[in-house]
Amino acid sequence: MTVLRPETQYATLAQQGEAAQLGMWAFLATEVLFFGGLIFTYFIYRAAYPADFANAARDTELWCGSVNAALLVTSSLSMVLAIEAAAMGRQRAVLFWLGITAVLGIAFLAIKGYEYAADYRHQLVPALNFLLKPGYRPPGELFWIFYFTATGLHAIHLTIGVALVLLMLVRARIGTIGPLYYAPLEVVGLYWSFVDIVWLFLFPALYLPGRG
């Protein structure tokens, strides 16, 4: 069992862990502004062209967005259960819950891939395969540009998240994450839950307008 020591600039492992968490919170603040900047464009254009956006949003695959939202919410649960297990020193539970989290994330990406293929078939992909359907005005294409930019960026963030979860799985397996020091797990958990929150905001923006 490796003896964990804090880096030279830290007095204790606890201080190092606290600093790592603070660092992740600072990074998440930048992510709020990153996605928030994109959602800003959505707000401006939806307020300017409400009918066109509602029209365009109706063509999204509601079941894909809804199931994905449920998957991510569940993965936040499994993630926090993994952290609780690490705090209690239950190594097998840590591996189990991390595995569930990764599987849920991969399932999200699989559904997303299916959905993108369906969007392509329906000619809803700007620049690649987009057809302005009868009854559509040009601002409808703005919706779809936003849709692919937002969900694409989200998917990239989620993929990075899955990679980090798998990395944590490996570290838990070899023992560098344990009840004495599991700050990296908490930090990855913060990132993961944040990616969940982004979807919670994107979902009603993209999938729910125009259905009434």
């Binding site: 880096e7 030279t8 600039q9 830290y10 201080q15 606290e18 600093a19 603070l22 660092g23 600072a26 990074f27 603040a29 930048t30 992510e31 709020v32 502004l33 990153f34 996605f35 928030g36 900047g37 994109l38 800003f40 464009t41 401006i44 254009y45 300017a48 062209y49 066109d52 700007p126 620049a127 690649l128 987009f130 005005r137 040009p138 601002p139 294409e141 703005l142 540009i145 936003f146 930019t149 960026l153």
Partner: protein, 546 residues
């Protein structure tokens, strides 16, 4: 020189000297020097572009550069100077070196992140050079749509990716500083005892963290629009080109405060030391730094007064722009009050700092002029604006940067620079700067537009004066390159505290050991404990300055 076996204690420079130990270092001091090398390289690239511009503008019809090349020159000058010099310079060189030392820490919170930020910076630099060699970009550093997305002939996407990657480097540095200042202060180093340079770096880092992501998104969107041929700023789809400007300037106005806040911190450090007096109104200074950081986010529309925004929002942004001048003015008053009844020494760092105070004031006052809606209609996109921001960026930030370099040179290198040459360079820089940029105020008032490769013949005399000044400025920038390098080889060795200053960084050797302090300092004293009556000076760890 006879070879005598002297057992000198290891410093961060002599610790291990392989190439690998430098390129894979986690030591914030070495990373600061790595950044210094990169920053200096890009400063001269940006300066070279400026040289060509000023040479071209000596004659009214140009002739030195083709119009298309001229456009690429001012674009590259802007991109390089903004993202590859002004934004990173003070934080990544002096900030990286000094923050742990000044707060009594052994390193930054995330040393590997620090090293990574240098590599990311250089990655963006390599991409920049590639873009340059392939022919550059001609949109101006502001990338306005729809020109940049639909009509420009140049490497717009490459430029957008370059700056996007560069932004990550900024965010990593800022994150490191914020967590470090919150969590790694030495015992007794309360927030109210922090040196003003630390407060300035903290305020700067907050701005970096909150503004840069919006730039990243903006660049991503124009990159996509350029690449895919369709995008959200496209008027044919109902998009709004001004939306780009709103998002771009939401970052880029705070960005100019990213450039000036660290410089203000440096000036406070230098003025206190060379006036042998505590900074007047320390608390007001800290609040002013934070106020500038916050209000800087509320003024961006003043870049868009004539772009087509509504008059109402123009009024709001104009009011906000007036407001942001208040904390800046408070700082100028407080520096001046610090000088009052001080025992002022005119060493080179002080000359640079004094130059800052005067030139920043000029730049700031002219900022109020362009913030005035009615005046801006006449002055916008003229040389008046160029002069305004160069007074602040070059007269202010660059002067402070040189002042800081000289002030901490003994600490960083263990050598003293030659004082006479340094003072000469500082004075030459001040004179050359004013000769370069004051005529530009006049040119702007007379109506010479910016970013034009030719101008009306009657404006030539001012342009010639400006270009003459630029040549003097160039000499003033090259001089330190020569004598500072000389000092590395032949300069006298520096004591731990050659200036008898109060900061914690002066309570360790020059240069410092790798771990900064043999033992974590214990802070008992407020910063700048200089007694003007008795001349006594107490360092922050309670000992007399020696």
């Amino acid at each position: 020189m006879t070879a005598v076996a002297i057992d000198l204690p290891a410093t961060y420079l002599t610790e291990r000297q392989t190439v690998g130990s430098w390129l894979l270092t986690r030591d914030h001091k070495r990373i600061a020097l790595l950044f210094f090398a990169s920053i200096t390289f890009f400063f001269f690239i940006g300066g070279f572009a400026a040289t060509l511009i000023r040479l071209h503008l000596v004659t009214p019809q140009g002739g030195l550069l083709q119009p298309d090349i001229y456009n690429r020159m001012f674009t590259i000058h802007g991109i390089v100077m903004v993202w590859f010099f002004l934004i990173p310079a003070i934080p990544t060189t002096l900030g990286n070196f000094l923050v742990p030392l000044m707060i009594g820490a052994h390193d930054l919170a995330f040393p590997r992140l620090n090293l990574a930020s240098w590599y990311v910076f250089n990655l963006s630099g390599v991409l920049l050079l590639y873009m340059l060699l392939m022919g550059g970009v001609d949109t101006g550093w502001t990338f306005y749509t729809p020109f940049s997305t639909a009509y420009a002939n140049g490497y717009v996407t490459a430029a957008a990716v370059t700056v996007f990657i560069n932004g990550f480097s900024t965010i990593m540095t800022a994150l490191n500083f914020v967590v470090t200042i919150h969590r790694l202060r030495a015992p007794g180093m309360y927030w109210s005892r922090l040196p003003l340079f630390i407060w300035a770096i903290y305020a700067t880092s907050l701005v970096m963290l909150l503004a840069t992501p919006v730039l990243a998104m903006t660049l991503l969107l124009i990159g996509l629009e350029r690449l895919m041929g369709v995008g959200i700023f496209d008027p044919a789809l109902g998009g709004d080109p001004l939306l780009f400007q709103h998002m771009f300037w939401f970052y880029s106005h705070p960005a100019v405060y990213i450039m000036i806040l660290p410089a203000m911190g440096l000036v406070s450090e230098i003025v206190a030391c060379f006036a042998r007096k505590p900074i007047f109104g320390y608390t007001g200074m800290t609040y002013a730094l934070l106020a500038i950081a916050v209000i800087s986010f509320l003024v961006w529309g003043h870049h868009m007064f004539t772009a087509g925004i509504s008059l109402f929002s123009g009024i709001v942004f104009s009011l906000m722009s007036f407001l942001v001048a208040v904390p800046s003015a408070i700082k100028v008053f407080n520096w001046t009050a610090t000088l009052h009844k001080g025992s002022i020494a005119f060493d080179a760092p002080m000359l640079y700092a004094l130059g800052f105070v005067g030139l920043f004031t000029m730049g700031g006052l002219t900022g109020l002029m362009v913030a005035t809606l009615a005046l801006d209609v006449h002055l916008t996109d003229t040389y008046f604006v160029i002069a305004h921001f160069h007074y602040i960026m070059v007269g202010g930030a660059v002067s402070a940067y040189f002042g800081g370099l000289h002030y901490w040179w003994p600490k960083i290198t263990g050598r003293l620079y030659p004082e006479i040459w340094a003072r000469a360079a500082a004075i030459l820089m001040f004179l050359g700067f004013n000769l370069t940029f004051f005529p530009q105020f006049i040119l702007g008032y007379l109506g010479m537009p910016r970013r034009y490769y030719a101008y009306a013949p009657e404006l030539q005399v001012w342009n010639v004066l400006s270009s003459a000044g630029a040549s003097i400025l160039a000499i003033a920038y090259l001089m330190p390159l020569v004598y500072l390098t000389w000092s590395l080889l032949r300069g006298r060795h520096a004591s731990p505290n050659p200036w008898l200053a109060t900061g914690l960084e002066w309570q360790t050797s020059s240069p410092p050991p790798k771990e900064n302090f043999a033992r974590t300092p214990n802070v008992t004293t407020e910063p700048y404990h200089y007694d003007p009556e008795t001349g006594a000076c107490i360092a922050q760890n309670g000992t007399a300055c020696a």
